[in-house]
Subunit: 337 residues, 2 copies
Amino acid sequence: MPHIRIMDTTLRDGMHAMAHQFTPEQMAQVGAALDEAGVDVIEVTHGDGLAGSSFQYGFAAATDEEYLKAVAATLKRAKLAALILPGIGTCEDMRTAVKAGVKVFRIATHVTEADVSEEHMGLAKEMGTEVVGFLMMSHTVGKEKIAEQAKLMESYGADVVYVVDSAGAMIPSEVKEKVSYLCSVLKVPVGFHAHNNLGLAVGNTLAAVDAGATVVDGTLRGLGAGAGNTCTEVLVAALKKAGYKVDMDLYKIMDAATTLEPMMRRPQVIDNSSIILGYAGVYSSFLLHTYRAAEKFRLDPRDILLELGRRKIVGGQEDYILDVAYEMAQKKNIMVG
Amino acid sequence: MPHIRIMDTTLRDGMHAMAHQFTPEQMAQVGAALDEAGVDVIEVTHGDGLAGSSFQYGFAAATDEEYLKAVAATLKRAKLAALILPGIGTCEDMRTAVKAGVKVFRIATHVTEADVSEEHMGLAKEMGTEVVGFLMMSHTVGKEKIAEQAKLMESYGADVVYVVDSAGAMIPSEVKEKVSYLCSVLKVPVGFHAHNNLGLAVGNTLAAVDAGATVVDGTLRGLGAGAGNTCTEVLVAALKKAGYKVDMDLYKIMDAATTLEPMMRRPQVIDNSSIILGYAGVYSSFLLHTYRAAEKFRLDPRDILLELGRRKIVGGQEDYILDVAYEMAQKKNIMVG
């Protein structure tokens, strides 16, 4: 059975569930426990990556540099990673991150916009770091489009390209189809990042490795926005059970989850909003806008989310939610009137 | 795509997470919401089935008859079911249950002991109810053994036979192998009941229906012992997303979960004990005995659970846990001495 690398993003994607308020000391504690358990890569930053700390995305309790340095100081074996979304983080932020100890950049774009990662990937390669390409919202397009965009990232120097199920909207058969096709067209390894909106984070991740992915993501206790991510310690148990080689100690990764637990603001569960977001295939950041639009136009917010999913709305189109709700309200009035 | 029946066991398997303390009024509220959402079958009793209320299994807040009557009075469309474990519940309990409104009996045995269900299945058929056979701990034996035992149940009159992953120990490939084999040898439909110890309750249930199962279980919010069950409202979303026909309203089943939520004692999450139980393939009822044995012999309880899993310990062998721990302690002393 193949060897599976795990990249843990408790200290990045998990930041969403913490309103970006981990302290550097807490990050150091969790990072040390992850390192001790044998995690290969530990991702650290604001939830929205380098320079995410802002009025728009929420201010973090410390700077990315402070977080990265705090975790870097505790690592004996794991590689430190930072996420960057071109447009939010800059090349300058990447240089600062490397000085703070980053050895892996995970560079994320919408699944149809891989071209915006070229400059950042070039810089990452130039600085000698590992480069991971992250194709977000991969549920919105077919396997050929994902492959085309992944090949772009590969041509820019990506060492791994991820299929990212940002909205937790995929089912195992879809994951298998997309990942296996990607494996057949790329020279570099394929990764998979899940969310748990439909209760399928672990199931989809197993489907991904069965289809040929060799790098997968998790967070301790599933910590993450909404329904959260694949739970790292559960995933390690499931992968070992399925016979995959994982260089991690099951007891120690469970201990790392015990270290995290008292820092959590709430248990990570799947609430009704998360289910609808996953079912509709819509980003969790649209939730608040949708509730506002629903109130304004006296609509069921669930209906709006389903309509947004059908229209494949993407990040940056938040104003469009009001237009959609207005249109729906008009149609409803005509029908009842 | 095939039509999938859902049997909800919030008011039976979920009783474990409530220390069997649902009130009949609470059960009636939840039952009405499940009925309104279009659930096909609603299972009600003590967590360990008819007559489970006892010193050994824990006393419930009311009698099974009171629970069954309270829920029966609210149902407009769903069929009322009761679980019975031969040896705990008796034929007399079944007669009382039918008078209280039961239309479906789910008769459960260890996966190698189907023969103890013959009398109860016969009585259930005689009383004109639907009969479901429940093969517990199906992860402990191979597909041929499951098929042999399932065919026994079929010969006793079972209308459906379930593969039951009592310890949440299965992975999707195993579920597919066992369920598809069972479908190929039985004339009656095959069911699947999951637990979420390895985060795979929804993933395994999708694997089961992909392999031919047409009847599956869930509980609202995953309410159940340890890591809990397949979450019904999440499962409905996942099944619809996968294209299966499900006669249930997604909004209304989410509303039913909202009805249940304030009654819950704790959010349903996967803790470290649940992970080890699933990884080891051991019943959650062994946990307390294991902690006691670990303390007595100064062992790591996780090591004991893994050893119990290797030895395939079954219910009723609780005393054996001390023997195993003693043996492990002896071996450890020899090794360190």
